[in-house]
């Protein structure tokens, strides 16, 4: 009632209440600070990219860079290329994906289609969470302890791939799980009602429906593991020669090349390190773009 009398007061001067100045000041300050943090985040990104490009881009413009290895070159000789390391990076990443992706998709299928709220499903979810937090150096040590000390395997690119599998599985499980969850139940029911067994429903209807997203997730995951350095440091030796055999001998990769050539403290070493950095960033970018391209090509069309 009191408001009614207030309103009846003749001609209250301002139509709207003024916000008092301290509140307005706080609001403005908060807006500025929040905007600044964003700039603060972009600064290192821009700085870092400019650094890498400025220091390394000139070297990757040479065709030799992409076609030759560093075989036979001393640490004082310019020239050669990182073909051997590119091959290693791609090979290790792809072997890792070949092993990790099927396992990860099956785990996600288990979680979404079979496990639901069971105790095993909860344990799996927890494990995937923990696995995604396992440092790459620990994954590398584990594979070292398992394959090299216990099973007596030599250090090899394959061992690297196994360590990367541990890092890749949780990433792919997570994305696949989210994507399978948003496949409408109606599609599953439609398939069941046609007399399609559950496993075929999953393989032929549910997974294909989520496929474009899964492919994007996989290529992002590959891009990520290809930049990992700790596993290559522990599990495989560096070489300047081209090696296509993942099971035997040393094999270079871009991160390994960078850590090894970093110790060459002259202009030649610098060229190799920063050139490799540009190359690695380019490869990662290509995989990221490839992911979104494939997903765009295979995404569900309505027209």
């Amino acid at each position: 009632m009191s408001t009614a009398t207030d309103l009846n007061r003749p001609a209250a001067p301002p139509a709207f209440q003024e916000i008092n100045s301290s509140r307005r000041f706080k609001n403005r300050l908060a807006t500025i600070l929040v905007g600044l943090t964003f700039v603060l985040a972009l600064a290192p990104l821009v700085w870092l990219l400019i650094t890498v490009i400025a220091k390394g881009f000139q070297y990757v413009l040479n065709a030799d860079w992409w076609q030759k290895s560093l075989a036979g070159l001393t640490s004082r000789q310019f020239g050669g290329g990182v073909y051997h390391a590119i091959i290693g990076t791609l090979l290790q990443g792809l072997i890792c994906a070949v092993i990790a992706v099927p396992i990860a998709i099956l785990v996600a299928v288990y979680l979404v289609e079979y496990g639901k709220q069971s105790r095993l499903a909860k344990a799996v979810t927890f494990t995937v969470d923990i696995l995604s937090g396992v440092p790459s150096i620990v994954a590398a040590l584990f594979i070292y302890a398992l394959c090299i000390t216990t099973l007596g395997m030599p250090r090899s690119a394959f061992a690297v791939s196994l360590a990367l599998v541990l890092l890749m599985i949780p990433v792919v499980v997570r994305t696949t799980e989210e994507l399978l969850k948003i496949v409408p139940d109606e599609l599953r029911e439609a398939a069941y009602a046609l007399g399609v067994p559950k496993w075929k429903t999953i393989v032929k209807i549910v997974i294909p429906t989520a496929m474009s997203g899964i492919i994007t997730g996989i290529s992002l995951a590959i891009a990520r593991v290809m930049g990992e350095t700790a596993p290559v440091l522990v599990l495989v030796g560096y070489t300047t020669f081209i090696n296509y055999d993942p099971f035997g001998g040393s094999m270079a990769s871009l991160p390994l090349l960078m850590t090894s050539e970093r110790l060459t403290t002259n202009e030649v070493g610098e060229a190799r390190v920063w050139g490799a950095a540009v190359t690695l960033i380019l490869i990662i970018t290509v995989f990221n773009l490839l992911g979104s391209l494939i997903s765009r090509l295979t995404s569900l069309k309505t027209k």
Binding site: P44, L141, A277
Partner: protein
């Protein structure tokens, strides 16, 4: 079919281990899972449901993969432990409290992990202290302040920070950022040197291979991690609450403070813990940035030294003697346990919050 074959192989040993590993994964598949045909919900149901062989095989494959993953995490712990024990038995120093690291098997092992652990935790916490407020600001900016149309591309830019490999962060940190920070660290050291944090340390400030530099680089690496999760949580603030605050005449900041922040607090803290876990295990960036030292860690930002991860990576190419390697594996086990605890804690914070689903 060839897919399932590749999966079957690694899955099989996993199954065997899982059964030994614990009761949970062993009993779970039967009891509470509703069978594909569903009616297995109650044991009282008399007729058995026919399941096709294809369904049985496929389900077994998925369950096997699940068990394999669970077994994996247990195997990591077990294998590291098995490999560490002989070296720990030979260790002439106190492993947990010793501050010197001598893993050269000639002349006897004497390795203590304490200094490595201190540097690991110290640099990670320093990174977290920088990254937390900045990430909070970014997450608020992206969810509350940025213009709707720009929010997504902006978020993409922040995510790009996560796509940069850590080795490139390391190179940038060591060769570009470190010298650039020299004036800042020199100023801090000269004016605030009486505080132990800024006391003269074991590393040359002009070159900048310090925990200070490493921590800042780590902080940059944490930004996208903490931001991504916080952003997701802030985005789920119930619009009702926001509108309620707006209707009371709250300013934007007041809306954020009274609705978004309280709602997202647990998610933000959890995200920060996940970030901490990431920082604790970061290897190559720290390895490249920090200068090695033989002196003890003095709790100064201007010390050099090694984290557990960087120490392992530094020695990795010389892991030829199993007992020497065992010492590093023991340190790796400490790191594994540490990150396990931090990650499990981070997950448990979110787990209690149904509203984040």
């Amino acid at each position: 079919m060839s897919d399932s074959d590749t999966v079957g192989r690694p899955g099989a040993p996993g199954l065997a281990r899982g059964a030994r590993g614990g009761a949970a994964p062993d009993t779970a598949p039967e009891a509470p899972i509703s069978t594909p045909q569903g009616s297995g919900g109650t044991p009282a149901q008399p007729p058995k449901v026919i399941t096709r062989p294809g369904d049985k095989i496929f389900k077994a494959l998925t369950v096997g993969s699940g068990v394999f993953v669970v077994a994996m995490i247990a195997l990591i712990g077990v294998f590291l432990l098995i490999q560490a024990i002989p070296s720990l038995a030979d260790n002439q120093a106190n492993f947990l409290f010793g501050r010197d690291w001598d893993a050269d098997p000639e002349g006897g092992l004497a390795f203590g992990v304490l200094d490595l652990l201190l540097v690991t935790v110290f640099s990670s916490v320093f990174a977290l202290i920088i990254a937390m407020p900045v990430s909070l600001g970014i997450a608020l900016f992206l969810t509350q302040y940025a213009p709707r149309r720009l929010a997504r591309p902006f978020a993409y830019l922040v995510d790009l920070l996560a796509a940069v490999p850590s080795i490139i962060y390391g190179l940038w940190g060591a060769y570009v950022l470190a010298p650039a920070l020299a004036p800042v660290s020199t100023w801090l050291n000269e004016n605030l040197g009486f505080i132990p944090l800024f006391a003269t340390g074991t590393s040359n400030l002009a070159i900048g291979q310090t925990i200070f530099t490493a921590g800042i680089v780590l902080a940059v690496m944490l930004l996208p991690i903490i931001t991504a999760i916080s952003r997701e949580v802030f985005d789920r603030t119930p619009p009702m609450q926001v509108e309620g605050a707006l209707a009371l005449g709250a300013t934007k900041w007041e809306v954020v403070r009274t609705t978004v922040l309280p709602f997202g607090r647990a998610g933000y803290i959890s995200a920060s813990m996940l970030g901490l876990g990431r920082a604790l295990g970061e290897t190559i960036a720290v390895l490249i940035i920090l200068s090695s030292t033989t002196s003890h860690f003095g709790f100064s930002l201007f010390d050099g030294g090694d984290t557990i991860a960087s120490k392992i990576a530094r020695a990795a190419q010389e892991f030829n003697d199993p007992r020497g390697a065992g010492a590093y594996i023991a340190a790796g086990l400490v790191l594994f346990v540490l990150t396990f605890v931090v990650n499990a804690f981070a997950r448990s914070i979110i787990a209690g919050h149904k509203e984040y689903e």
